[in-house]
């Protein structure tokens, strides 16, 4: 007998990073690593489950900035070269590790990369979005959208620019997936009362918030976080379940930290002989992760004490963890069913890149979990938020509390003493963009190009990633550079447009670099 619903939500996001001005670029690797380790493995798992006739529903965010990169021919060709290079390296590795404890791992990595290459080049013709779109069209995935560049909405200066981030995101979704989105992942789950009106305007039906948003909402939620609430504008808010999050994320009790799983921080980019590995690194020859890792977590030991990775051991552990996850959900749902007087929905959102990139076995965990849910029990049903809303149309009306899923649950990660210098510049650009849009309501030709590029520069500057990177202290110079570059370009466009002196050559150069959102229309800033 069905006890409740499980909504798995995978949030796939990377900031827009594309540098045609350089033949290779360190931060572009984020995308290439995620393609090999997360996006292709997830597609592979979902396609095979579908082919096996297994019924399941999973929700995925593919953020507009990520979609724009996945669809970009330059980045596709660069990924093609990179995966070819890795296939070459793993071929050598099979020879090099023969008769060592690492032989099975080397073979595993080689097969993985060869499969990734074949799927990328042949099945998906280099555009992974086609794979995700097919899965949505087949009724397996529900893909939801996000604000255009993952802009942190509560810290923007006014509703016009918030609306633009949301609308550009929805339009971009329609471009890539041929339909309008039903749901949105609010960047960083950052909600403040009032945002729901903009979501309703955009025709969206639901969004995701952190637990305390609903638990601290007004009035008190009758069903806790196990049913959505309807905000005053009618759009529904679903809250993250703490328990399932902890089972996967927790540093102490989370699955990915199990001793049998692959250790992320032992990579042959660092371990192999320098001369041997050099041809596979960037041209600067600096060591970096290559995604080939031969050790397992082992336990709380130093990196040099890690033991060899044994694929069969990891596979057994995946099965154990999938069983544990299901048993825990059954207990949780049986209890909740009595408590809330309705079949509960347990909402489990994760960064998609957790699965495969950070937790190598993550996609296989999902594979086993979904199979077991299908074949071995009938109490838990996988569902998406929009499916749930179709089943339960009556939900409590509430104003959720302002919140994020950042540390401490509010805005501190994005506004603090290391990031607050950003906002006066961002707010000025927002103000100026609105001014331009109203001053030139029906521009055409070169002026329209300049205005549209100004809009692109603004949304790229608004990305929440820059403040996040600065706060966390990793790759800080790059985040600062990116924010400043976009503000600089926006400011020059503003000045040139106002002075009626648009430099077409310079504009074309900027258009070729910051080429995201080809469909953007600056008139969105007139409202």
């Amino acid at each position: 007998m069905e006890q409740g619903y499980l909504a798995l939500i995978l949030h796939a996001h990377l900031p827009f990073v594309r540098h045609p001005e350089f033949p290779e670029f360190l931060e572009e690797d984020w995308l290439y690593e995620a393609i090999t380790e997360t996006y292709i493995p997830l597609l592979f798992v979902f396609e095979n489950l579908l082919a096996a006739g297994i019924k399941f529903r999973v929700t995925m965010t593919l953020t507009p900035s990520l979609c724009e990169m996945l669809a970009d021919p330059l980045l596709q060709s660069r990924y093609s070269a990179r995966i070819a290079n890795l296939v070459k390296l793993t071929s050598s590795e099979i020879v090099r590790t023969k008769d060592t404890p690492f032989a099975d791992s080397a073979k595993l990595h080689h097969e993985h990369f060869v499969a990734a290459q074949q799927l990328f080049e042949e099945k998906y013709q280099r555009n992974l979005l086609s794979g995700f779109k097919s899965l949505q069209d087949a009724g397996v995935l529900e893909i939801i959208t996000c604000a255009a560049t993952h802009g942190f909405l509560p810290l923007m200066s006014n509703d016009t620019v918030k609306r633009a981030q949301i609308q550009i995101g929805c339009q971009n979704y329609a471009k890539h997936f041929g339909r309008w989105p039903k749901g949105i992942w609010l960047p960083e789950c950052a909600y403040q009362p009032g945002i729901e009106k903009l979501l309703t305007e955009a025709g969206l039906k639901f969004f995701i918030v952190d637990s305390h948003s609903i638990m601290f909402g007004d009035p008190r939620p009758r069903r806790g976080i196990f049913a959505p609430v309807l905000t005053p504008s009618g759009v529904a808010a679903f809250a993250r379940d703490v328990e399932t999050s902890e089972q996967v994320w927790s540093a102490t009790v989370g699955y990915p930290g199990h001793p049998n799983y692959r250790e992320f921080y032992r990579d042959i980019g660092w371990d192999a002989e320098e001369e041997y590995i050099k041809p596979f690194l960037h041209s600067d020859g600096k060591r970096r992760n290559l995604g080939i890792k031969y050790f397992r977590v082992t336990g709380k030991v130093d990196l040099h004490e890690k033991e060899p990775y044994i694929p069969d051991l990891a596979t057994q552990t995946i099965i154990d963890h999938a069983n544990h996850f299901i048993v825990s959900r059954l207990e949780q749902m049986r209890q909740l069913n009595k408590m809330i007087g309705r079949k509960p929905i347990v909402v489990s959102p994760y960064d998609a890149e957790l699965f495969g990139h950070w937790w190598f076995e993550g996609p296989q965990f999902l594979n086993v979990l979904i199979k077991k849910l299908h074949y071995e029990q009938n109490e838990i049903t996988l569902i998406t938020p929009s499916d749930y809303l179709a089943v339960f149309t009556d939900n409590q009306t509430q104003v959720p509390s302002a919140s994020t899923w950042g540390a401490e649950g509010y805005n501190r990660v994005w506004i603090n003493n290391s990031t607050n210098w950003i906002y006066p510049h961002q707010h000025m650009a927002e103000r100026r963009m609105i001014e331009l849009a109203r001053r030139y309501p029906n521009a055409s030709g070169l002026l329209a190009r300049a205005l549209n590029q100004a809009a692109r520069e603004l949304v790229l500057a608004q990305s929440s990633d820059w403040a996040f990177i600065i706060t966390t202290g990793t790759m800080v110079p790059y985040a600062i550079k990116r924010f400043k570059d976009h503000i600089h370009r926006f400011t020059r466009l503003y000045d040139d447009i106002r002075a009626n002196k648009i430099d077409e050559g310079w504009l074309a150069d900027v258009e070729s670099k910051d080429n995201a959102f080809g469909e953007i229309n600056y008139q969105i800033y007139q409202r």
């Binding site: 990377l14 900031p15 637990s211 041209s283 990793t474």
Partner: protein
């Protein structure tokens, strides 16, 4: 070729010119012999020469405000008054708590920023203006009003019977929702017992509407004491307001050492829980290598 030059991948290796020995010592101290080229991005304006003020919420206890007022705006305003009177005006930030009307003035300069300590679930208005002890306050700029997050459960129960939830039932719901610390809610008496004596004494005095004496201030933790001393120099009222604004944060820190919440049945006040699990944004990954930005975390506490 310029196109093959990637500033992120290249170190500059310019030779060091011959220098006198004393210069070399200085050079060793102040400059590395081989500097890493870091692209700090294109130039952006330092200021924008317009009058502006914005207030932004950080969390239930903090608002950040920045402002810029062109000097001529202040000058033009002062010019209305006779010179002797004009000289008494100085720029201030005015913080108004709109529910109870509490007002705080903070002396400022024409351009800058400020962290304000505030209360949860209140609406605030922040302004920049000129203040004179003799002529009062003149508003120049006003930021959009901001509302701080509740940071706790709502006191309001849904009027619809179907959605009504109170008492023990809601505590169970909180537990099931992962708010474990809410299960063992502690009463205000226990909270007071666990606070340092000097702090609980100050709370009692303030609660009774009485004034603090210097000894009581001296016994407070250094962080609060230093600020109160500074505020005292600017007037009694500011000291009081400052204390009221600082106490919630200090209470949160102190109580957080043994529990994250305290409560009484009629007026529940739950301190902001620390959501340290479950989110990529708070997961304490090892910090050895750069990580995907959407997943990178560090010392965010």
């Amino acid at each position: 070729m310029v196109t093959s030059y990637n500033p992120y991948l290249t170190h500059t290796t310019e030779p060091i010119a011959e220098v006198h020995i004393t210069e070399l010592i200085d050079e060793k101290i102040t400059k590395p012999s081989q500097e890493i080229f870091i692209d700090k991005g294109l130039d952006i304006p330092e200021t924008y020469d317009i009058d502006t003020i914005r207030a932004m919420v950080q969390d239930p206890f903090h608002i950040w405000v920045y402002w810029n007022v062109r000097p001529e705006v202040f000058d033009n305003l002062k010019a209305i008054f006779p010179t002797t009177i004009a000289a008494t005006f100085f720029p201030v930030l005015k913080l108004t708590e709109l529910t109870y009307g509490d007002v705080t003035f903070i002396k400022i300069v024409e351009s800058g920023d400020y962290w304000l300590s505030v209360f949860p679930d209140r609406k605030y208005r922040v302004e920049v203006g000129l203040y004179s002890d003799e002529r009062g306050y003149i508003r120049i700029l006003e930021a959009d009003e901001v509302v701080t997050p509740r940071g706790t459960i709502s006191r309001n129960v849904d009027p619809e019977p179907e959605y009504r939830i109170v008492g023990k039932e809601f505590v169970e719901s909180l537990q099931a929702s992962g708010f474990a610390s809410f299960a063992g809610v502690i009463g205000p008496d226990r909270a007071m017992e666990n606070l340092p004596e000097d702090v609980s004494e100050v709370i009692s005095v303030v609660s009774a509407g009485e004034e603090l004496n210097n000894d009581q201030i001296d016994n407070l933790p250094p962080k609060i004491r230093a600020l109160l001393k500074e505020m005292q120099l600017e007037g009694e009222e500011l000291t009081w307001l400052s204390l009221l604004h600082l106490l919630p944060e200090y209470l949160r820190e102190t109580i957080g050492q043994f529990d994250e919440t305290f409560d009484d049945a009629l007026h529940p006040h739950h301190l902001s829980p620390r959501f340290m699990v479950g989110s990529s944004k708070s997961r304490p990954y090892p910090k050895r290598k750069p990580w995907m930005p959407s997943m990178t975390t560090g010392a965010l506490n």
